[in-house]
């Protein structure tokens, strides 16, 4: 069964572009989680993430504007870069997917309030 699937796999398109999209999704998820935590620190980072005030992108959205836009940009840019790197190539999909899954799990974890609130300054 395994050998059949391996043989058939060689007759299909190379998996590089799909691996690129999955890994990019993981990168986008992780970046979102990191930005959520950084925003909790407050100060200049939090002010910077208010893209609605800084760049007029979405009046009243607050720091979520910056967090979401930067996470989506990380997803798209990393996808484009990885796509061109792996275009036409057969990569170790299992390993790439495992990394992508870890990054997505980190994204889920870091967007969970009890986790990202750890980064909030403690009240005096």
């Amino acid at each position: 069964m395994q050998s059949t699937e391996t043989t058939q796999s060689t007759q299909t398109k190379p998996n590089g572009p799909v691996a690129a999209s999955f890994l990019a999704a993981g990168i986008g998820s992780l970046v979102l989680g990191i930005l959520v935590c950084l925003n909790e620190l407050g100060g200049d980072i939090s002010k910077f993430l208010a893209f609605d005030k800084n760049y007029g992108l979405g009046s009243g959205v607050g720091a979520l504007s910056g967090k979401s836009i930067l996470a989506v940009l990380a997803f798209v840019i990393s996808w484009v870069v990885l796509h061109f790197l792996w275009r036409g190539k057969e990569v170790n999909f299992g390993r790439v997917f495992a990394v992508a899954l870890i990054l997505v799990a980190a994204g889920f974890l870091l967007t969970f309030p009890p986790v990202f609130e750890i980064f909030a300054p403690k009240a005096a």
Binding site: E5, Q8, S9, Q11, T12, K13, N15, P17, V18, S21, F22, A24, A25, G28, S29, L32, V36, G58, S59, G60, V61, G62, L64, S65, K67, S68, A71, V72, F75, F93, G94, F97, L101, V104, G107, F108, T111, F112, P113, P114
Partner: protein, 177 residues
Amino acid sequence: MQLSDRELWALIHGMGLGALFLLAFGGGIAGVWSLRSKLVTPEGLQERTPRLLVGTTVMAVVAWLTVIVGTWIVYPWYRAKPPAGTADLAKFPRSLLLSSPDTAEWHNFGMEWKEHVAFLAPILATAVAFATIYYGAQLVHRGEIRRAILVFFTLAFAAAGVAGLFGALITKAAPVA
């Protein structure tokens, strides 16, 4: 019986786009799951592949529209700050929730989780849609890709499910009106 603009957009966001994504998940996951050579004939594969391509693409587009409408149209109404001295907070849902210890956690936990985790759904659904479009009927021969699609599809559903659940509960406690 009429809806305000805000109620209409909240309805489009939650009951329209969000619910469509969650409802379509069952069909999508079943379609990918059964895309195996031992389960479908070549004729069956030709018949169901276009439906799967359209289905996963529409789900990704719907997921993006859901977070775009939610974040850029409905969310500013939710978090609008009331003018000083405002007694009736009905038009300021975030402030209304935070005004009582009994409801504050709907914002501090529910909304804070929902507004962030929701963005994982379209990102993951886009990767799923791309993989499905890229391989098409060849997915039947790529078990590892098919399994990865199932995992990402399920995670996208989980993210959308959390967002949808808290969206409904928060709307019940403090509707955007």
